[in-house]
Each structure stands twice: as C-alpha cells, then as structure tokens.
C-alpha cells in the first residue's frame, strides 16, 4: 500500500507516505483538511486516519455509520441537532428531534479513540449516558451536553461514577430532570482531574455544599466553575480551597439587606472571569478589589441599573468580554468605550419590556454604538438589541471595527418612530468595511431595509458564512437580488419575512454555498406548499413544521394560545430523509404535494 507515486500528487512523483504522515497531524483547520482529502485517494485515506476532530453541523446530514466508516480514529466529535431557534421560547417543538441515541450506540461500539464529545441542542436520555459511561467512561475527558434535554440527574450519576478522567463536564442551559444531588457527589468522589464544571442556567437546586467543597479539595486543577443559584455566603469555604479557580459564575445573593456580610467572601486570587447572579448595587463593591484583573464579566443576571454599569466597567480596564442586558444603556456603552480598550466581545441582551422593571436609561441606540466603534477598536463580536438606530452608527462600525467577525443587531419593536430607516447605506458600509465578517444577523421591521438594501447584503457579504435575517426587504425582488450574491453563505435563517415560497425556493437554488435553510414566517402563497417544489433536488431534505397553536402566557398572566406560523427547514444530507419525525414535523413529499 505504500505508493510512492500516487496519481495527481504533482510533478516529480508523490511525497512519501512517511513525510505525509508527519505533516498531516499539524493540519487542523477543517477546511484545509477538506481540501487535503480531495487531492487523491491516498491523501483522503491519510486524512481519514489522522483527523482528530469533526464537527457535524446538523446531525441529520450524515449517519453514525458513515462517520464510523470514514473517521475510525476520531478523538473529538461535536454535533448539533435542533435548529438554533430552539433556544427561544415556543418556536421549535420540544420533541423535534436530534436524538443522540444512534450516535452513542455507534460510539460505544466503534470509536475507540474518542475522548471528547459535544452535543448541542440535542435530546439525550439517561440510557444514553449510562451506555456512554460504561463503554467509554475510562477514556472520556470532555463531555458537553450543551442546551440539551431529556435526561435526569440519574444519567449524570453514571457519568460521575465511571468517568474518572473527565476534565470537562459542561451542562449549561440544559433541561435536566432533578432527582437529587448525588451526581455531584459521585463526581467529587471519583475524580481528581476535573478542570471545568458547568451547570449554569440549569435548574439544579439539590446540589450539596459538602460535595462542592469535596470537589475543591480533590480536584486541585479546577479552573472554571459555573453553577446554578447557590447562596454566595455558603461558598466562602469553597473559595478558600479552590485556589486555582479563574472563572466563576452563578451563586446568589439572598441577604442583600446585609451587604456587610458579603465582605466575608474572599475570591480566589486568579479569578478573572466572573458572573454573580442577582448581584445588586450595594454588594457590587465586593468585586472592586480585583476588578482590574477581570477579563470577562457576565452581568446578564444581575440587578444593576445603568449608573451601576458605568461605575463597574470603569474599574475594568482589562475587560475583554462583557455580557449584559440593554440596561447598560448608551451611557454604559460610552463608559465602556472610554475604559475598556481591550474589549473583544460584547453581548447586549434584551431586558424586560415593562418600563418599570428596568432603568429608564436602559436603552441602547446609535449613540452607544458610535461610541463603542470609536473606543473599542479591537472588537470582534457584537450582539446587540437596540431601541433606535441610524445608518451613521453602522457606518461607524464599518469604518472603525476592522476586526469584527460576528455582528448581530436586533431592532426592538417598542419605539414606533426610528430615527433613520431604511438602513440600506449603513448595512452596505458595515459589510464592506468589516472585511473579516463571517457571521451576520439583522432583525429589523417593515421599512427597516429595502429591496436595494437586501441586495447590498448579497453584494457585500463576501466571507459571511452564517446569517439570520428578520423582517428585512420589501418583496421577492429583494430576496432574489440577495441570493445572487452571498458567495460563502452556508447557513441562512430567516424570520418574519414577506417573501413567497416561490422566491424562497429560487433563492435556495441560487445561493451557491447554501447547505442549511430555516425560515419562520413567510408568505404562504401556495396550497400544500406546492411552490417549494421548485427547490427539490438530490440530497436536499425539505421539512416543514406546519403552522400550529402554541400554549403560552400573555402579559396579563393568562394561559392563551399563540399562532405560530409554519417553519421551513431544508438541508443537504447524505443520509436521506429522517426516519424519526415527531407528529409536529413533516417531510415535504413531492408526490403527495403534487397529488393534492
């Protein structure tokens, strides 16, 4: 099999396999690996043997068997299931799919080198975790159940008991049925190498303090801990033990009327990434002694006003990552622009809609964005919910934010009058100015972006691979202009748009790199989705979540039913149509549609 002269390897014969095998392990980027594997059969085989990590962007695009046949020696696997919309309320049915079971079954049988597993937005059962623990427990180093659901603390107990080599256990935002706190006890007793433990934003309340303290004692390498609500005063002892901790999020302040008590909380010396749930203004000062060391600050779940944000960020000159709600306001962004010159990532989420629940100043607009653009030149990621916007703000970002690779803007619908719409010129300026942009999100309202503006997005988004567009454009013409551009666009999400099924189908065919399309809320112009047939083609799965009524609670606290319009999901797959549809999801069957 040692073929020195494999065809297609260039002038002067091929490279020896030995040389190639030495070089291959240093090639990590998946796109480079993809290119390597296309050179010739021998290179394909070498890539297959030496590839360490694979990300499957949608679990239904291939099958466990195909993965096993190509990448037997895989060490690390990441895959995603439900559409991204699943992380929002009432969009994707809970039982939509993305079951890990077939994958775990294959892993248990074939993947002998697998050490790291990351499931995102998938359905996981306790039996899956039990199988994983028994078959791979001895070698598993990283397990991430990221926004997953369907399992309980019993499943986690299996992991805790059997996975003694676990360095990372990540459960953030997963929906876990809690029976008890034993899983943490198992983990704390059986593990000495844990570095990262994350059950942030889960509703696990039965974890015991003594297990946390045991963990701190046994796992001297514990560097990152993110937990659910837990009274901070009880963690004084834990913090004393866990001296290597650099990151802590979670906790709770249940005695804010006695702020003096919290002076007893001494944080570990290397702590530089922090987020304290329910932190209020009068206890904020416990952070001040080491605020200048902070690189990452999570203020998403604090109870601070605009002024408090200003005071806090002014003390954090080394801040690189900030997450907060729009209560930070324009003033807070101005403070950020002045004080935090190293800022790389900024996420501003949407606070409460009710006026009285948030600070009056708690609105972000073009004023804050312009200050940010001018002040934080190293910014790479901006996700922001704004109450007002202008073209000038986007133009400033295009002019100053040369390192921006991920930009998402949502225009809230509270204000009737927006200062400067449509945003055609601003969007063009931002896209042409930010040459490194790979991810782009724009969620506006009718009139927010004209068809011309939508065409600009197509024209100027050369390297953008993922987009979410909400309420943009005016007509099908805009969408069709858009879809003649976007040369790199692989994944497109659209919501609340005015386009017909026919235009959506044509656009899907025109976007040359498109492999995943999700649309929610569009102009249903044909009976039985007939117009979608335009995009029927080999390997292209088309699924529908028909319009339905979803139970919800309105502002008055009443249980009501909301109209949820149809979703279209289309993606390339080598595995054919799904075989595990729930009742709420239907494949588009051309034969049935035509017959209707």
């Amino acid at each position: 099999m040692n073929n020195l002269n494999c065809s297609g390897c260039g002038v002067g014969g091929g490279m020896s396999d030995v040389v190639l095998e030495c070089v291959m392990p240093y090639i990590h980027d998946p796109r480079d690996r993809d290119a390597v594997s296309l050179v010739c059969r021998r290179w394909y085989e070498l890539d297959a043997i030496t590839r360490r990590h694979v990300t499957i962007a949608l679990c239904y695009s291939t099958s466990p068997d195909r993965l096993q046949r190509r990448f037997k020696h895989l060490e690390s696997l990441k895959m995603k299931g439900k559409p991204r919309a699943a992380m929002f309320f009432n969009l994707i049915p809970e039982d939509w799919g993305g079951f890990v079971t077939p994958w775990v079954n294959e892993i248990a049988e074939s993947f002998n080198c697998l050490k790291s597993l990351h499931f995102r937005r998938m359905i996981v059962k306790d039996s899956d975790l039990e199988l994983l623990a028994s078959s791979r427990g001895r070698v598993l180093e990283v397990l991430k159940l990221d926004k997953c659901s369907g399992f309980s603390t019993d499943g986690l107990s299996h992991i805790g008991r059997s996975c003694r080599q676990l360095r990372t256990l990540f459960l953030e935002e997963s929906g876990i049925a809690e029976k008890d706190g034993d899983w943490l006890h198992e983990l704390a007793t059986n593990n000495t190498v844990l570095q990262t433990l994350n059950f942030y934003m889960t509703d696990l309340t039965k974890v015991r303090l003594e297990d946390l303290e045991l963990l701190a004692k046994n796992c001297r390498s514990l560097v990152s801990l993110k937990i659910s609500d837990f009274e901070l005063l009880e963690l004084v002892g834990f913090f004393r033990s866990a001296s290597a901790i650099e990151e802590f999020c979670g906790g709770s302040f249940n005695e804010p009327d006695q702020p003096g008590k919290y002076a007893a909380v001494i944080f570990p010396p290397k702590l530089c990434r922090l987020g304290l749930t329910y932190m209020e203004k009068n206890v904020m000062s416990i952070v001040f002694p080491f605020a200048s060391l902070l690189k990452k600050l999570d203020l998403l779940y604090v109870l601070l006003g605009t002024e408090d944000h200003c005071v806090l960020v002014q003390r954090c000159p080394n801040l690189e990552v900030l997450e907060t709600r729009n209560v930070i306001g324009d003033r807070g962004l101005e403070a950020l622009a002045q004080s935090c010159k190293r800022l790389k990532r900024l996420r501003i989420e949407r606070g409460a809609d009710e006026q009285e629940m948030e600070d009056v100043d708690g609105r972000v607009s073009q004023r804050g964005l312009i200050a940010l653009a001018q002040g934080c030149l190293e910014i790479e990621y901006i996700a922001v919910y704004v109450s007002d916007i202008t073209n000038a703000a986007l133009e400033h970002l295009g002019a100053y934010s040369k390192n921006l690779n991920d930009f998402r803007l949502v225009l809230l619908d509270q204000e009737h009058m927006i200062t400067d719409l449509p945003l055609d010129n601003g969007v063009r300026a931002l896209l042409s100015g930010c040459e490194k942009l790979q991810r782009f999100g724009l969620y506006l309202r009718p009139g927010g972006l004209s068809d011309v503006g939508l065409g600009y997005i197509g024209q100027y988004s050369r390297h953008v691979r993922w987009m979410i567009l909400g309420s943009v454009g005016e007509s099908d013409e805009g969408l069709l202009a858009f879809s003649t551009g976007c040369p790199s666009l692989q994944k497109l999400e659209m919501r609340a748009c005015c386009f017909t099924e026919s235009a959506l189908a044509r656009a899907a065919l025109q976007l040359t790199s498109l492999r995943y399309l999700w649309v929610h809320g569009y102009r249903e112009t044909s009976t039985g989705h007939r117009d979608l047939l335009t995009m029927v083609r080999p390997f292209w799965n088309i699924e529908l979540i028909p319009s339905r009524k979803v139970p919800t609670v309105n502002n008055a606290g009443q249980n009501v039913f909301d109209d949820n319009p149809a979703h279209i999901l289309a993606y390339y797959s080598l595995a054919g149509p799904r075989t595990d549809f729930p009742d709420t999801v239907k494949p588009l069957d051309p034969a049935k549609v035509v017959a209707a």
Binding site: D203, P256, D257, E349, D413, A496
Partner: protein, 230 residues
C-alpha cells in the same frame, strides 16, 4: 418679498365637499387620517425634524388661509379651527405650485402649511425641501393605497399578509426569560417601599422577600431552595 404658497390637502377636502352624506364625510376623513398618519410615519424623521427646526427658526409668518399663525419661536403648532371653515383644496396628494415658483431662486423659502390631526403647522421651507416632503408623503400614501390592489388575493392570504406585517414578536431566549420571570416573582412577593425593619424576616430559610427597585430603595432576598421555575 412675495411668497409662493404650496397647498397640500391632507384631509381630502375636495372629496369631503363632493360627498353627499355626513357619514361618508366622516369615513373619508377617517381613511385620510390613517393615510396621513401612515404617510407621516413613513417620512424620514430627520427630514421632518430639520423642516420643523427651520420652520421654528423663521417664525411669525401669517398664512392667508386661516387666522392661525405661528405666534412665537417656541410653538410651531396651534389647534386649527373646524374643518368647514377652510376653503376647498385640490385632491390629495397634489403638489400645486403657483406659476411664479418655477422662476424664483430655489433657495428662497416659502410657507408650507400642514394640517394634521386637528393641528396646523406652518414651515418656511425652500422649494426642494417642500418637494421632498411631498414626494415622501406621496410615496407613503401610494404605498399604503396601491399595494393591496396590485396583487389580487384571497381573503385568507390577505389576512396572512396582515398578520405577517411585523406581527411575529421577537422571540426571547429561554434563559433570559426565566431570569426575568424569577426577578418579577422576587419583587412581586413583597409590597414596594416596604423597607422598614419590622416587615422583613431575617435568615435564608424563610419565604419572605423584599422589593427592590433598581434605584436601591429596598433589597430583595429569596430562599434559594424556592424553585420558581419549571
């Protein structure tokens, strides 16, 4: 200095005058109000603001049309007299320049009178600005009027379209939604301003909560074992 008058009939006075019943007059006005409202809401607010600003700066212009005037620099809008007192206007929307306007210096300003929602505003604008405003109004109105007629549709599709017009609420992230609900419950369990010591319980194990404004009046606390979620 002579001034050319630009007259814009927002309320469709001519329609009103020609219709027979008072009821249809009313309906015409209702429709026109909505048209105006939507037209104005679609106007570029910057332009409107700049127009208003330049109008306010040059105040104290009297109009030949009614007795209302811009009395001072501070106010640019005064309540109008009832509609029937106004002389007839051309049909909406019409740019109705008097002949002399074409020959005059385009930078020279003239009063632009806008009747809207029971108020009257008079602005001194140059011709090009006035044209822009009128174009915007035309565009706004024609968009709302013309669009449904262009594509013949069924009722069902019409309803869908109407419901789609920005009616899909912006979805909320689950984690944030849960936090906001928890926060509401923390605050709702105690009456506001109750920050006196005798209304508070000490200790973590109790169920009592405090109300806390972001302004820091009182302070909230909660038993961490309380599961407000799920």
């Amino acid at each position: 200095m002579s001034r050319a008058t630009v007259e814009l009939d927002f309320f469709g006075m001519s329609k009103e005058n020609s219709s027979s019943s008072s009821k249809s007059k009313f309906l015409n006005r209702q429709r026109s109000f909505r048209d105006i409202q939507s037209a104005i809401s679609k106007m570029n607010p910057e332009l409107l603001k700049s127009v208003i600003a330049s109008g306010s700066a040059a105040s104290n212009k009297s109009t030949p049309d009614n007795g209302n005037q811009m009395s001072s620099n501070k106010s640019f809008s005064v309540p109008s007299t009832p509609k029937q007192e106004l002389p007839p206007f051309p049909a909406l929307p019409v740019y109705f320049p008097l002949p002399r306007l074409n020959l005059e210096n385009p930078l020279e300003t003239a009063p632009l009178t806008i009747f809207y929602n029971g108020t009257v505003a008079v602005f001194d604008v140059p011709q090009d600005k006035a044209e822009n405003i009128l174009k915007l109004a035309e565009k706004g109105i024609s968009k709302t009027v013309v669009e449904p007629v262009a594509d013949p549709r069924t009722d069902h599709q019409q309803k869908l379209l109407e419901s789609l017009d920005g009616d899909l609420p912006i979805a909320r992230r689950k984690s944030l939604q849960r936090f906001l609900e928890k926060r509401k419950e923390r605050l709702a369990l105690e009456t506001p301003y109750a920050s006196t010591p005798n209304t508070r319980f000490q200790g973590r194990k109790t169920m009592k909560n405090h109300y806390s404004f972001w302004a820091g009046l009182g302070l909230a606390s909660k038993d961490e074992k309380d599961s407000l979620l799920n």
